[in-house]
């Protein structure tokens, strides 16, 4: 049905595009693994050098702590609020739901400025909480929307049966509804992890001490200060990007599904 010429043309177009998509990634990988422009190191030794000189160990530790906290807290809170919106009926339900929906679209740059000055007067600036809690709030808005959609579509008959057996709403959530919800929870988890790990503006504004810098923030500062060559910068970039990329390669389905279903938080 399709001529050979057309098929060939299709492959050429797709290949050209694949090369365009991969090119900057290859630039970084090649520089990170190649000989250092200052001489001395090459290959994997570049990563060790970047780890030492760029202090990426400390940045990764902060990112790991912030991401773990944000993911766990926002997923648990979202499961609970999504459960309420998805399976229960109460006064002010739709008004409250729309209020949560506003948060999905609210740009962090609009709230970060007042947050900085209010947290500063509370003495909370430059703390773990000032980086994590705003991100929990943003993720909870999306998470509520996400889990509500799941619970609305869940099997009501099982819930009714469990209620007749005398199970409390708490037990129904964690023991009846949540086990089959694993795919939805995994998708939410990887999305929140990616957003938190890659977030730049919130840590940039909230953090002044070096020990609290997250990985992307550390990389941005490293780029500003370290100007003698590109090798260590490239190695640092790989270190910063790698955790999310590894997750992506293993859980691609979840990333694609989540990002395609209207996840507006960048």
């Amino acid at each position: 049905m399709i001529s050979r010429g057309e098929r060939l043309a299709n492959y050429v177009i797709l290949s050209v595009f694949a090369v365009f998509a991969l090119y900057p990634v290859v630039v970084i990988l090649a520089a990170a693994l190649g000989p250092a422009d200052s001489g001395g190191t090459a290959g994997l030794a570049n990563f060790a050098a970047a780890w030492e000189i760029g202090r990426f160990g400390s940045y990764l530790r902060t990112s790991l702590a912030v991401s773990a906290f944000t993911v766990v807290v926002s997923v648990v809170l979202s499961v609970m609020s999504g459960y309420a919106f998805g399976t229960m009926r109460f006064r002010g339900q739709s008004a409250l739901f729309y209020l949560f929906m506003l948060g999905i679209m609210m740009p962090s740059e609009a709230v970060a400025v007042p947050l900085y000055f209010d947290l500063r007067s509370l003495g909370l600036i430059d703390t773990f909480w000032s980086i994590s809690l705003p991100q929990v709030a943003m993720s909870v808005a999306f998470g509520t929307f996400w889990m509500r959609a799941y619970f609305r579509a869940s099997n009501r008959a099982i819930v009714e049966a469990a209620r007749i057996d005398g199970a409390s709403s708490w037990r129904i959530l964690w023991q009846v509804l949540l086990p089959p919800a694993r795919p939805a929870v995994v998708t939410l988890t990887v999305l929140v992890f990616m957003w938190t790990w890659n977030e730049f503006l919130i840590p940039l504004i909230m953090v002044t001490s070096e020990s609290l810098r997250t990985a992307p923030l550390g990389l941005a500062f490293f780029q500003g200060q370290y100007t003698s060559g590109f090798t260590l910068l490239a190695a640092g970039s790989v270190i910063v990007a790698l955790p999310v990329v590894v997750f992506y390669l293993f859980l691609q389905r979840h990333f694609v599904r989540g990002l395609l279903q209207g996840a507006v938080r960048d």
């Binding site: 520089a31 809170l77 109460f90 948060g103 740059e109 709230v111 209010d118 507006v264």
Partner: protein, 296 residues
Amino acid sequence: MARIMAGPPGEPRRVAYLYLLPAFVVYAAFLLYPIGRAVQISLYDWDGLSLGTWAGLDNYLAIVADEGLRASFVHALVLMVFYAGVPLVIGLGLAAILNHAKVRGLGFFRTVVFLPQVIAMVVVAVAWRRVYAPDGSLNGLLGALGLDSLTRGWLGDYTFALPAVGVVGTWFETGLVTVLLLAGMSRIPLELYEAARLDGAGPLREFFAVTLPSVRGEIAVALTLTVIAALRTFDLVYVTTRGGPGESTSVPSYEVYHRAFGLGQVGSAAAIGVTLTVIIFVISFAINRFADRRIS
């Protein structure tokens, strides 16, 4: 069953408020309250330290009147072409090819084009800075093609810095748009294509008569995501150009940061942030209304 279909689902339950409470407290404290504060601060002249003075709507009027501020919104419009327009055209083409032809290696291609979406924007910016550098590979490529006269430091050039930033947006968003459209096209029933072919439609008419109308919903989602991403460009500009050279790549989000923490014009920064929020709400509402009406 009918009762569930008619109203909101579930039993009437007061306990719902308890389940909502923790999420709501964090959400209200760290998003709702700050946006309210942003509105309040935007009505003052405030340097962030001393007492502010009432400014009324002056900070908002400045967005229209101040040339530099107006330019930053115009730059955002230019970025929308690169973030939303170009990816939509390329994405429609790529998705049509992938859907039409039984291409081998589809899974691999999808993995590759979607990859930019998961890479931290700071890393993306570092990579593209390298590509655009005076001794970078873009100039190397132009030199190899004998186009030495075109080589330049792309991000330091008054004319080309903004398009250069825009191309990064194209690179970033095209995969998302393609995968989104492909998902929509794969749901189009084959009978529709067969009917079009029986009517004597060629590939081009088939595309405009069958494919395009069927993916209107996906186009709306793609435009919402990419237009908002263009409006919110921050990390990329911060790392690559800091709004420069001059103010040729200043964008609203960067102005918010720069004014609040660089120039001590917190009121103005808050006004830009609030304006950005309103624009984002209006755009996502309008695009989705438009798509809904066209479908029904």
